[in-house]
């Protein structure tokens, strides 16, 4: 792998940028691998990368039915934070945030992690109480988090409407300064390039059509590009988790829903933190290009269509305009939808399945992007050792049988 730097950029400028290497190869699939990772999103690529880097398992294929990073990795609002209520979640997301903090250097690919702070607004006494409970728990878990008074919020975000006459005035907020945003595509590409450098085969346009089992354990996958054998198969396919699980005869507690997001036309930067509000249902940040990046709510029905209703988007825009009245004349430039895999407790499932050698990592719902490297890191561990890492052990599928759910509906920050 040729390293990227200002010097390589200058060197290539001399040759008119005609000598850049491929960021990753496009190999044909081999008949077999040690591990097949199904799903070439951020989580799948991170799994492959950490399998190679942390566990020395490099005979790995990542199978992607379309183009890598084309699912939720390339469709989210790029927010990164670890301010989750329950210990289990806090530690998992914090692991991810710490990996993110070194990821640009680790991958030699600038993912543009911008730790500009994530502000969660409180609009009622109930909000304030829940927010303080979360902040206190986070601090004792060693995760940076603070409560801001209304005046502090106003100083931090002068364009925010905190007025008392608003329908839902701002009473205060929590902030995680280490939270922020990263360039979502770059995360996928950087991981792909680094995994590829370790020898991982990234195979695009290769859809898995069946999961082969022999004597109760997994034997490989059937794909649109032929049979690929592997003693271990890890599935990380977000919205399509149920479809893959059905191929292996496994039931999941997951429903797939459309989740929309939108960006405005670029305007000169005026919003320098990520702002989230559960009560009016909005979250918004401003990208380095100047676009306002906004997340909408999920549509209530199951869908695989990557398409949602216009009224859902309108509600989000209304909420953003309520919080930021100066955005009234800014225009929405693009809206889009993804498919999120939602678990009943708004926490993911990461671990083994009843089929030996088959592992699932799914159910990230509306919050998967922030978990990308952490998810891959623990999933790689789970696959390599055939047992979960302590960080992801609580996120096993059997929690739905025991009832030990990790209810993070509050931490979604907005009521999806």
């Amino acid at each position: 792998m040729n390293r990227y730097s200002i010097f390589s950029l200058a060197r290539n400028a001399l040759s008119h940028h005609e000598d850049w290497q491929q960021a990753w190869r496009s190999p044909d699939p081999k008949p077999g691998y040690d591990v097949v990772v199904v799903g070439g999103g951020g989580h799948g690529l991170a799994t492959a990368y950490y399998l190679a880097k942390e566990h020395g398992i490099t005979n790995v294929a990542v199978l992607e039915k379309g183009w890598i990073g084309g699912g939720n990795t390339g469709r989210n609002t790029t927010v990164i934070r670890s301010n989750y209520l329950w210990d289990e979640s806090a530690h998992l997301y914090e692991k991810s945030l710490r990996l993110y903090e070194g990821l640009s250097q680790d991958l030699n690919f600038n993912i543009m992690l911008s730790q500009r702070g994530v502000v969660n607004l409180a609009h009622s006494e109930h909000d304030m109480r829940e927010l303080k409970r979360r902040v206190n728990a986070l601090r004792l878990n060693g995760i940076d988090s603070e409560v801001l008074t209304r005046d502090e919020v106003k100083r931090l975000i002068p364009i925010l409407s905190c007025e008392g006459h608003a329908r839902y005035p701002v009473l205060g907020a929590s902030v995680q300064w280490r939270g922020g945003v990263a360039r979502h595509d770059a995360v996928a590409w950087g991981l792909a390039r680094a995994a590829d450098a370790h020898g991982v085969d990234i195979i695009q346009n290769c859809e898995v059509t069946g999961i082969m089992r022999e004597g109760g354990r997994v034997a490989g996958v059937e794909t649109t590009r032929g049979t690929i054998r592997a003693p271990k198969v890890g599935c990380v396919v977000a919205g399509h988790a149920s479809v893959l699980a059905a191929m292996a005869g496994i039931s999941l507690p997951i429903e797939s829903h459309p989740l929309q997001a939108l960006v405005s036309e670029p305007i000169k930067p005026v919003l320098h933190t990520v702002v989230m509000s559960g009560a009016v249902h909005a979250y918004v940040s401003q990208s380095d290009r100047g676009e306002l990046v906004m997340g909408a709510g999920i549509d209530a029905f199951n869908s695989y269509a990557q398409r949602g209703a216009v009224n859902v988007v309108e509600h989000t825009v209304a909420a953003v305009c309520e919080l930021f009245p100066i955005f009234g004349r800014v225009r929405v430039m693009r809206t889009w939808g993804g498919i999120v895999d939602v678990c009943p407790d708004a926490s993911p499932i990461i671990g083994k399945t009843p089929v030996e050698g088959l592992y699932f990592n799914c159910g990230w719902g509306t919050g998967g992007f922030k978990a990308t490297p952490g998810s891959g890191w623990v999933f790689a561990h789970t696959i390599a050792r055939d047992e979960p890492h302590p960080l992801n052990a609580p996120f096993a599928l059997d929690r739905f049988t025991s009832g030990a759910l990790i209810d993070e509906h509050g931490a979604a920050a907005v009521a999806h």
């Binding site: 399509h240 149920s242 479809v243 059905a246 039931s251 999941l252 507690p253 997951i254 429903e255 797939s256 209530a300 029905f301 199951n302 869908s303 695989y304 269509a305 398409r307 209703a309 216009v310 009224n311 009943p344 739905f400 049988t401 025991s402 009832g403």
Partner: protein, 93 residues
Amino acid sequence: MLLITCPWCGPRAELEFRCGGEAHIARPADAMNISDADYARYLFMRKNPKGWHYERWNHAAGCRRWFNALRHTATHEIRATYKPGDRKPEPPR
């Protein structure tokens, strides 16, 4: 936004409805004598198919009745809506 035909009121905008998720999940009659795993199946496990899906809707801002629908989760086509107790329509082949 979907256009949903309430079996009692006729076609109405999705705004008037609330989605109730997968249909035809029977509440276990003898719940106390089934395993935790079987109970978890009832509580949490969902088919979530990519394709035809039986689901429940409530005409919340209308007649407030619950009913079922057969809808395609990739195209959003609604093939049928039907009252509770009515026979389940077959999905198109």
